[in-house]
Symmetry: D2
Subunit: 378 residues, 4 copies
């Protein structure tokens, strides 16, 4: 962190900032320029009371240097990155194998979720997803999920998907919307919780999830910078929780053709530079167009995802919600096959990726010679 003093700051104000930082146990450095003075703050600034500093006399701005998220951060170094795994049921996610999580947008009936689980298993996907209380952008959509309206309905809906999962030996992922429901999800045997996009910044819910032993898939809010997203993820992890999975499902942009804009560059940044956590690609919500789910899922794997979230339905034409983006069974089967081939290739191509840090030294030694060679100067 750098504290930038204003050009009207007095020496006393500058000294006061330094004193305050020392009181809090930080070491500082200082650069006195012609117009302005900068004060560097050393060490772990994630707990620095920045508001208090920003308010001190003569302070113009705070300039971040190191990141305010710690647990969600990548801690390796170029060429030796650290990528953690997370368990969902007895599946290990984020390791050597790709994990495809598939299922309908909503659990609609016992027969439907059973059939969906059969489809998911047959397609070769490894985890079953299905919503029990649904987000709807219009209050008049009529259907807010089999589990909406009462605790009994919620328990009933969760029971159905857990039963379907057990029948076909698939761990289950279900979205949770209300912090007070978390215990019910745990109690009913759900294997993994999901935070949906509209709740990405729901502080009450995220705080509550600190306490669950279940893994959590936290979807990126559609207006969040990739590092701001990590700071919301960090909220779940702040007291020690480790088993969190990231998920890119699209952000806002000037493109209006797709429902959202999948930020695969964000996935690549997370995987190659910023985070140690497994990353999921959700191209169903990320495009909102059934026929773009296939290519965008494959592209997401190539960018760095190791988890695939995808909506599919035994017959999307009768789905009660979001059927227009759910895959037909044949499409799911072929997508899983294609995903495995792309994953295999990505793993095989990994040795071809050389981080610049491993090359820079060598090219530095040539700088003078190359300047002469190219520009005729020394």
């Amino acid at each position: 962190m750098i504290v930038k003093m204003s050009k009207w700051a007095t020496p006393e104000q500058i000294a006061a900032v330094e004193t305050k930082l020392h009181e809090w146990g930080y070491k500082t450095g200082k650069m006195v320029g012609e117009e302005i003075t900068l004060i560097g703050v050393y060490g772990d600034i994630s707990r620095l009371p920045t508001g208090e500093i920003r308010e001190m006399g003569g302070v113009d701005a705070l300039i971040p240097i190191s990141r305010a998220y710690k647990r969600a951060a990548q801690k390796g170094e170029p060429g030796r990155l650290i990528h953690k795994t997370v368990r969902i049921g007895d599946m290990e996610v984020g390791g050597d194998a790709l994990t495809v999580i598939a299922g309908p947008c909503s659990v609609e009936s016992e027969a439907q979720i059973m059939e969906a689980a059969r489809m998911v298993k047959a397609a070769g996907a490894k985890v079953l997803r299905g919503g029990v209380v649904k987000y709807r952008s219009s209050p008049y959509s009529g259907w807010e999920g089999i589990g909406s309206g009462s605790v009994e309905a919620l328990r009933h809906g969760l029971k159905l998907i857990v039963k379907a999962g057990k029948e076909f030996e698939l761990p289950t992922v279900v979205e949770v919307l209300d912090p007070h429901d978390v215990a019910i999800y745990e109690d009913m045997g759900v294997d993994c919780l999901q935070v949906g996009e509209p709740n990405s910044k729901n502080q009450a819910l995220l705080n509550r999830l600190r306490e669950t032993p279940l893994p959590v898939i936290h979807k990126r809010g559609n207006s969040l910078d990739i590092e701001a997203y990590l700071l919301w993820v960090e909220r779940i992890m702040a007291e020690g929780k480790e088993n969190v999975i990231l998920c890119e499902r699209g952000i806002v942009s000037p493109n209006r053709y797709t429902r959202n804009t999948l930020d695969l560059g964000g996935i690549a940044a997370l995987y190659y530079q910023l985070s140690c956590l497994p990353i999921a690609i959700d191209a169903s919500h990320g495009t909102g167009i059934r026929d773009l789910v296939h290519p965008m899922t494959l592209a997401g794997i190539m960018a760095g995802a190791s988890v695939v979230l995808v909506e599919a339905h035994p017959n999307p034409l009768v789905a009660k919600s979001d059927g227009f983006q759910g895959l037909f069974p044949e499409q799911l089967t072929r997508l899983v096959t294609a995903c495995e081939r792309v994953w295999e290739l990505r793993r095989c191509l990994e040795p071809l990726y050389i981080p610049s840090a491993l090359l820079e030294r060598q090219y530095e030694t040539r700088v003078a010679a190359d300047r002469t060679r190219f520009f005729g100067v020394t």
Copy 2:
């Protein structure tokens, strides 16, 4: 609503869509083009199961014609718009008078909120605001509000602000984050609830607010189109609730200098075209820069706001949160004065605004003559 059939749709598929719509009680119309057929759906489509239609064979897309929000909508006509009022305590908001709602970001102590209420009253503002449980983007900020952590803390925090409000005869507005806390807010005597930006799409919270008799200020999410925002607002109102206030507090954009981008064009669209609800301008969060709060609040009034939300603190230099955007007491006093002057002028200038619908007929009669006059053609 128009149902656009794909160019490969069969006559049977087109007939099936019409039949289904008729079953649901809608009248339809049809336009058969060279390549595609369009089916128009007449009547109130707010409860139409669009997902089911979208999934029918041969359907390419649904094209909205009329709006899916009804209660939040403007129901007047050009030149005779309808603008409702909402009561906060015994204040009437959205009517002939401007309402300034001011106070600190957070209730920090009894002494602080008392002093803040005194400041607000002295400045001429009419409603006291103050957060008791706070949103923080970093989980390590340390301070999440005097009311965070337990029901007792929440009750204590609410008690302080309600007491301060009563002492200075100011109704109070407090943000609520958890649906299960609503009853506590009501019980403690808060006069108005606020939904913050990160919860703008929090379905569990919005559904719960349908039942409260208290007025609600619902802040626009920073990634929401102005009509998508009204659809989330409609969620609170869907079962009959009327006392809701809109609030523009900034959206994402390519401008990175201000913390958010205040969409005053959205305010003007709401006021002059889309909604009957009172509109608040929150330039504190909308700019994130203390010295821009004054001009942007005034601009917001000029665009159509009749409620001002503004952060101020007896001494922002000691504020525990967001002090950098809170006004100094002198700034608040002068802003309230300026707001009243701008409001007065806006009211006085209203007769100068002529909706185009009142002029079109007259100019239509001149079209032929003007074409001849300008272009020499008939």
Copy 3:
């Protein structure tokens, strides 16, 4: 500018960066942290070859501290800002008086522009605008302006608007699209050139405008941060040109209701913090909705604009381009009246604006006392 070294940087790499900066005549400072070292660069960095630094071994990133635009920048201090004026013909723009620039989207015929100029004059606006070569988003619109297609057509179109301006004693503003046409505009007697939004980053055109004595209105590109915009404006001014006017006409955002999103916070930032140049508000393009032009123009003035750009037509129903956002004559007349009233009020309210820098000292002296008062600590 701060040079942030990577955590793997060697002492030799750090020394090399310092040496290079010294060779270029810069003074430097250094802060050695636990993990990383920062090197501060003092002085005017606008001509620093940043690319070369960024490429040196061990350099992680460059962090800007002071601004890379100089001529377009605000050079005053809080409470004593400097706001320059620019002449268009014999009008002084940006000073004590508001300047309304009005006219049709396009010059369509001699009769039309004459009638338009009469309307503009009668309404009380001071400058006449009108396009001679038009931007069209579709290549099939059919009409690309009276001046498109040949040098003769261009001269003819320019002659018409200049003649109309002279007849009604109104200086004229016309958009230029091709750098090779600038001399023709000068030759034909146009009083002010305009750079349209699609050309906001057209380097060849901006470079050419360095040489014209005519004033230039440079419209902000719809994807530009407000400071990135100033850097493109600076391109015109880089070799000494001073007479440039800024213009906010809308940027992209999640709001899809208006054609663009007017960033009035950007206007306030320019006026109160960033720039010394006059600022125009163009609510015609900024909203794309005729009935929102009036309120948004007034809001723009309140935010800091002193120039109004507005489209109006003697009969917009016969306009060949963009008529849907052009005002009817009655609307223009009333808007000019309203603008003057708002301008007058803004001037009158100016003493109520107190920059925080003038208050901070006084509140700093109270910090300890207020902490004790509010929190019971010293």
Copy 4:
């Protein structure tokens, strides 16, 4: 196109719109709803004077149904899409083979571009790129390209890259900024022209390119919707030109970590649904981070690109511009190898992609049975 009449439109106004459309040779249809009337316009509406319609009395809005771009559009049908090829020199682009276009940001000297061409050839790339006049966001960067400042300089710069291309049998791609320079590029033997992002909406330049026989790579502007982009591309093609290549190089979004946000969903939409033209991925500008170029290029191919644009330099540490995003030679070599492997896999996986249109009929026949099966209703 649908013309939506306002709810206050009179029967006379509705009839007038129909009459006007018939005069222009269009057939129409009509749907009369409870509140509003819609008029459908049949046939090729790309040349419909929409402005004139929009201005007619009683017209509320125009709702597009079919696309206003024709030549750039996809004209096949699901399962039988049409993808055209474009020739650059004697290379066929967009067909069975992937085309990698590589080279430095700028031509810096004869020695440098020769060495760069050698590197490009050795890496296995097929086309040489290099800028001769450069875009720079700061006017003070100092270096605007070896070809800037005079016609002689431009000719000299172009001569160098063409010579290097010939020496290593690589066709060349060079960006053109000024419409008046096109003939010089043709004359000097450049094989392909490029329109850069800042010029994506430069009408004068795009109009001029209609006349060149050379192929053109047109980069998407960073604020353009994908279909709005196609409309600007259509401008080059409007009079018959066919040899145009699309290029995704990043758009604005809330993500601030990467320089731009690569919209790979836009690539997938172009390839699978909207356009027949070859698509390039430019991950150098699209990420602005050297170490993300590799994964994002591969992801772009998987999404639908068949052309790769990538910056590389014999020693990026001495590059005069944008070296921070240019690959080191080893990185280029490995990227080309990886691209070929990914391309090969994509081709091999193509049979796994099933457009929904090919499945819908079959699932429609099951709808009643599946409703009964899942929901127990008929």
